[in-house]
Symmetry: C3
Subunit: 675 residues, 3 copies
């Protein structure tokens, strides 16, 4: 199901809105509407933390105030994204029913307080949530001002209570069938940890079992599944009453405690909360890392997503809260749109007077006026979104894919191995991604459950754990003409962290890459080796050196130092109609740049920039059947000029553009005359 | 009530004395008296940790040994400061009555052990303390050798037990009257934390409520109030039996877990334990920071205080225990007297043979003789105190006041804001204070409950939280001709951490300073900006930049860098007959030096030195109706010369002095011929 | 009892072997034997973590599989070191009997999991262990393939449960007899901690008693005694059934949580697990520190020991796992033999497929073949061990002794003193040791319970705590002509951490050293002082400066800086027929080098090298009645040449050798023609 946008609404512009904090100030509620309109807002997220107002006593619902708010907004052309209130339990509830409060990994139950900390298993909590979700849906599900469900808020965290652990045992029984199978996969003969009854299984905790990695991995998987199940119950509750409204939930940035890929099938629309920490000076690297996560969000459903939260100025929970420099609000907001967002929204509309987020940036300050930097930046952005509304609905079509598998991440981090001080899986992915970003290559981010057909280039660094038949997908992809880049630390274990026997990369990948990875030398921070290429180029390597033997592959580069000097460090293997590259060591930025520049050219991978873009500038493509949109964002803090090929014009003004000049922090959106 | 000093006793010189550890060694007890006399001691603090000797079994008091000690001391001209023993519970008691042992913030009860860790609420402990305090007072309250009560020892710490939490709820009911009022002030609609019954309120803990800052602040306030109440019960118990004896309790250095300003009305005399960590080389900054805390102690009651503990050599609880270099014992001890102490006392007289403080510096070492560095330093200091006894009773009269409000400190630290990595409230106060210290300006330290009349200059940096009507006191002070220096981060919240609406500084201070503080840019450590003054001088700034708009004030300096270059950074506003300066950014040492040098000159603020003193040297004034005393202390480690204006003579020798020359670490006390 | 080696077996070569993980893979078990033989292995340690296989349900023993394994090994010339399985409890047991799971110092009981974490007091666990140990001994104690008992595995850790605490109280009653005695020794009058009943005593914990150092020390002692008692029960159980088999247990490196010297009388043979972390480049310092610990192991019983575990490549539990560079496996393994090991064994033979140690280096990788670096290194080493088999049984005879007293270490670390940021007792011992190591001086490591007769030189740095009459042994040793080197921080407390009165060094050592140590100046990291010698040489000192006065000694060096410049820093005292040196400050490497070079020459202490060896090269002597063996190991990573005096020939080839040339990392074993 798609978002059904009201007539005349294109890109969404809005904020979390908490009128429940100001019900005793009708003057302020009135002023809010005026300020929203002044800022060109067309939607707000309401009710996220309002449970205590919606159900002040057990079983007593008070929804009239909310109806008045939604109606007033609607009358003023502002649409409502309506939240289910499960993110924060009312105090009367957490005090009365202790089972809804989580237990930590010390098996100590939380006291009441904070938020996002309910037990996902508690039958009582699930029932209370089902009831209020249903009641809200009954009352508001058909209101013309309500356009989307915002399920809960930033699902997060883990509970170790007995109810959760019991559910975990059930999950394991379903997965493994027999204890024999579980014992085999978890290799419990190690240290005499053979389970002889299901009841002997406990979640991994610091003062219990930590060394059984299969247990750890399955506990992580169970946690995701349990949260997805909780969310599914919420979506069922609202869909039962309002089947025509789509649902989303807001994800978080760099959040890998859960596997977000497991949520995608239960959501109609993906949305997320993006909080880069912009500094003064060059913000290129910060931009790369958020570009990657915007791409994750878009890739989950391969369709436009929503930027559900961001801040107009600064957050208040970082060590240091630098204000956004002039132009940065435009650049950062447009980055989201450039990567596929159909909205720019904020946390929050008006600052709370008290409690922990009272100094978090918002559209309206405690001061109350619209003559502030924050407000002016928001207003200007709102105007820009109106001007470029036509991009709404266009999508990103990528010919390159990067494999980011969260279960693989968990496994790498859970295993004691060559560099316990840091394997840097995500950093490594980002290093590969950056090389493509610098050329404006649209990239999908996939995991091991995704399909690979349709791509020209697949990049799969550090694929330690293989699951879901991904090894076969990789073989098929290359056999049918695809180009694959793999690296050290690939194909070591099966989905339960059980090592492949017979040599790495296992599960048939030795054949695909044409190398045998015998062992790994780990380097201390600061230690270096190098790759010497056939043509004499030399790149630095660090952290890990896989010692490999050729089994059919051809050497493209060798180690420059140490006792394995001269041995292969970078190889390629012809396999079927395609090629599989194998990189044995973590390389420097220049290596990735040269490698992908060559591959993009050779494979004619779609990209927005002829060659490298100016430092700190990104170029993104969205497209419809008819046209392409080119989004340029400058994060460098310096004026930058981008040379364009083809005919482009500004979307906002219609002016033709030959050379795009961007100020310190800036953004420009262009459209092609035709595709 | 004042300390009633016996005939012939002027400045006190003595130590904590624990004969209860040596009752089986009469030879040592006898030797103690000889050594005390050799060191020119005239008083000791007795009984601090003697409860297990005083009440070896429940209800059985054994006081005879103590009487013998007190009598023997008295016969030898040594007076007793008698402690109530509540600082350390006997083991039989903590084992029998678990309620007297604290619970930590994890709700886990302490086991027996350590000290200063009783529950301040426990009715049983309060009763046991009341009984033994009363019994001690009955027995010794009229002994001519006893001159002062030493209530407990270094009150400290917090208890989270159910008894304390129940008392906290009662305290809240008294403060707020209704839950509606509490919910409003704590802004509990945020995250649905509305309380619907008093029983739902718990103390803030890591696995419970942390984000409700009003709760956090009130819990801190309650803790102080509960300890003061405990102390008040102790003072009542001893005063009931010995109404003519004054009471003190010994405070700690840099201790802001409680608000010491709340203790002052229940004490006759303020005393404290001062443990600078002197190093080799220049100790100027360490001296500044202890100068400030001596001034806090004197300012609490605006009368001379007592230095109750210090060490002749080094403590044993620091990462590294450097010995006091030659001369430092004199300089450090005289610093206390210079700032208003009528005593120099030590922890402790004789080192314990075992347990955790056996290597803590003391007058008498395990060695036992008087031919040690420690003993000779103490003896020399004792001689000096005898020679300058006439300064006793003279006081410091300040024309400048520095606002140090502990509740404001708590609020700044509790709130998540622009620099969670360090707002540096105390460091900022010390930076302002240092500029005055370098000119020998006597300074009172006041909090928001103090009066401001009588001062020429009031310095109130980072006055984030306003309470007790202090905003009105500030307005009155300036209106009537005073000069006020305020800074960024002022006037953001009311006493319950609820933000002022309508613009900062709130509560009427916008009018007073003539500026509107729109927002704050926080800088990372190492990042800099600057203030450019009208006359071209330039000062570095760091950490925080308030972006302000003039609302009547005049600009004295502007920002030198960044996107707010040229905007006001330092302003002054004429208000009534006075002036209010507003400093928008944290400035460097030169700025404060120049600012206060100018203001001291312009306002003719009393000060001891014409211009700046040599680096690391301080000059302090004490005065009586008739004369002034000038105390010079050199902490630089280098010889230093101080030029004097007026006629001065040494108090110890009577010699006239024109140029004071001080060796590496040194102290010199002068008197004016007349005032 | 000695190890009874089968005919034709000299040095042992083998590994931990866990066939219980592969019982469903007879092909792999078969291949294991082939690979062992290829690697010249003659013994394996079996059954260490096999309890769950040996007793799959309570009371049901299944030993047949083990018999088959032992028999098969034996048939192939491979002997078994048979483990008792107490190191890891089966899950069914820890789930059923919670008392066998430890409690942490927070009094929280562990959940099932991990290993080496049973309660040493639990009567149930002791009984279960006794039963299975007895059953194993009955079944296998007389098997010709079984040559040694491997009691449990790496005993470690502490339990705070009520059973342990009760046992602790009994232990104290036995030690002190009366509470009066205990109160006196622990100096409990400090802070009113006088015990009035035994039940009031609890183990030291973070939220209880920490400051009573006597309690802390006795708890550490009790812990060791309780573990020794547990081990003794295990040895009794196996000896009852198989009295002719010797017992060992495998110690750990740098493990001072227990006092290993207390274990020696209950073991027939000492063995240990040695895991140096070799890096690239010069590994000299790592070699020194493991040389020292090899010497500890040999010194415990003054007879050859066994290297029970080591890794052929790298461990997997360090921050970074660098592979052993070429040659290092030989050098590191031969270092063990050089210092007295009669074996080289590994953890483990074949890598586990899963769980926490699956990436720990092993002889056989998951790959399974013998064409790997790891395997080839092991095979080559096995060949070398065969070639030099004749050294087996030869011993090290030392004329120098270094005092390393674990109780002294505990006391230094437990006491709050001059440098809580680091007293560096072990580092200091190693600094002294290194000077001897560089000359190839054989060194015994002794503690305060050992005898000193027979040595020429005794080195006793930082002998803070005196016990077991060691002060008398030191006096006797010097009086009878020995040379003693002592330092600052010596003779401060008695065995219960109670300070000596009357001056340091106490207990008569003032007389021996001829100095009075008045006080100690502690230096911050980075601060320096120096010793200026009579002849003008100057050495740097750091960390601690004892200020001493001569009481008969003669000054050899004085302080070069600070207020104690010119005061004695290094002295010598003639005492009886010997000499006692006293070093007042922690000195630099050059000082120790010159000091011990002089003393070795003067006293004609046995040593392997004429002068200093090349950097990073060690030379060790083992001897029999007839000959000397000279072991040279190069850890420098650079080629090195050692000049030899006397006639030597290679043990492996019989070639005569005049100049020994060693490659980057290398080892060479020579024998003298005759002694």
């Amino acid at each position: 199901m798609k978002l059904n946008l009201p007539e005349g609404i294109h890109l969404l512009h809005g904020a979390d809105y908490n009128p429940d904090q100001w019900l005793d100030r009708p003057d302020i509620l009135k002023r809010d509407i005026e300020l929203m309109k002044e800022a060109h807002m067309n939607c707000v997220s309401v009710g996220i933390f309002a449970w205590a107002r919606l159900e002040p006593k057990e079983g007593v619902y008070e929804f009239d105030w909310l109806e008045q708010i939604i109606e007033e907004l609607y009358q003023n052309g502002i649409y409502t994204i309506l939240a289910t209130p499960s993110g924060a339990k009312p105090l009367w509830m957490s005090e009365k029913y202790e089972e809804i409060r989580r237990m930590s990994d010390h098996m100590v139950r939380d006291w009441s307080g904070e938020r996002h900390n309910h037990c996902y298993t508690s039958p009582y909590y699930r029932e209370k949530v089902r009831q209020i979700d249903g009641a809200l849906a009954r009352r508001f599900g058909k209101h013309p001002g309500v356009i989307l469900w915002h399920l809960s808020n930033e699902y997060g965290g883990v509970c170790w209570c007995p109810l959760c652990q019991k559910a975990f045992r059930g999950w394991l029984q379903k997965k493994y069938g027999t204890l024999e199978q579980l014992n085999q996969q978890w290799w419990t003969t190690f240290w005499s940890h053979t389970y002889t009854s299901w009841e002997q299984i406990h979640a991994p905790v610091a003062n219990g079992e930590r060394g059984t990695h299969g247990l750890w991995l399955d506990w992580k998987r169970f946690t995701t599944d349990q949260v997805v199940d909780f969310m599914r119950e919420e979506s069922k509750a609202v869909r039962a009453e309002a089947p025509e409204l789509p649902v989303t939930t807001n994800f978080m940035n760099y959040f890998t405690e859960y596997n977000y890929f497991k949520f995608k099938n239960d959501l109609d629309i993906v949305s997320w909360d993006s909080y880069p920490q912009w500094k003064a000076g060059d913000n290129g690297d910060q931009a790369v890392s958020f570009a990657l996560w915007h791409d994750v969000m878009r890739s989950l459903k391969k369709q436009p997503f929503l930027l559900m939260e961001s801040t107009p100025s600064a957050t208040n929970w970082s060590p240091v809260s630098r204000l956004k420099r002039p132009g940065m609000h435009l650049a950062a907001s447009m980055q989201a749109v450039a990567h596929g967002s159909d909205s720019v929204q904020y946390f929050q509309f008006r600052k709370s007077r008290g409690a922990s987020e009272k100094f978090h940036g918002a559209v309206v300050d405690h001061y109350g006026g619209s003559d502030t930097r924050e407000f002016r930046d928001v207003e200007a952005l709102g105007r820009r979104l109106l001007e470029i509304g036509e991009v709404q609905g266009s999508n990103v079509k990528a010919e390159a894919a990067l494999v980011l598998d969260v279960e693989n991440l968990w496994a790498i981090e859970g295993a004691a191995g060559p560099r316990n001080c840091g394997m840097h899986y995500l950093e490594t992915l980002q290093a590969h991604y950056k090389a493509l970003w610098k050329m404006g290559v649209p990239v999908d981010v996939v995991d091991e459950e995704c399909e690979l057909s349709g791509y020209k280039l697949v990049i799969a660094p550090m694929l330690y754990l293989l699951r879901a038949g991904f090894e076969q997908k990789l073989r098929d992809f290359v056999e049918q003409g695809g180009t694959l880049v793999g690296t050290y630390h690939t194909g070591l274990v099966n989905e339960n962290d059980l090592c492949y026997l017979g040599g790495w990369p296992g599960a048939g990948l030795m054949d695909l890459f044409g190398v045998w990875h015998e062992t790994t030398d780990a380097l201390y921070d600061g230690e270096k080796n190098s790759i010497l290429m056939e043509d004499g180029r030399r790149y630095e390597t660090s952290e890990l050196s896989a010692l490999i033997h050729l089994k059919g592959a051809r050497t493209l580069g060798t180690y420059g130092e140490d006792f394995y000097q001269g041995e292969p460090a970078f190889t390629v293997n012809e396999f079927g109609r395609g090629k599989a590259y194998y990189l044995a060591a973590r390389a420097d930025e220049d290596f990735y740049r040269d490698l992908y520049r060559g591959l993009v050219k050779e494979l004619e991978v779609k990209h927005a920039a002829a060659d490298e873009l100016p430092e700190g500038v990104e170029a993104c493509l969205r497209e419809t059947e008819e046209r392409r949109y080119l989004f340029l964002q400058n994060f460098s803090g310096r004026e930058a000029e981008v040379k364009l090929t083809g005919a482009w014009e500004r979307v906002d003004t219609g002016e033709p553009v030959k050379q795009a000049v961007l100020t310190g922090y800036d953004a420009l959106t262009l459209r092609s005359s035709s595709k």
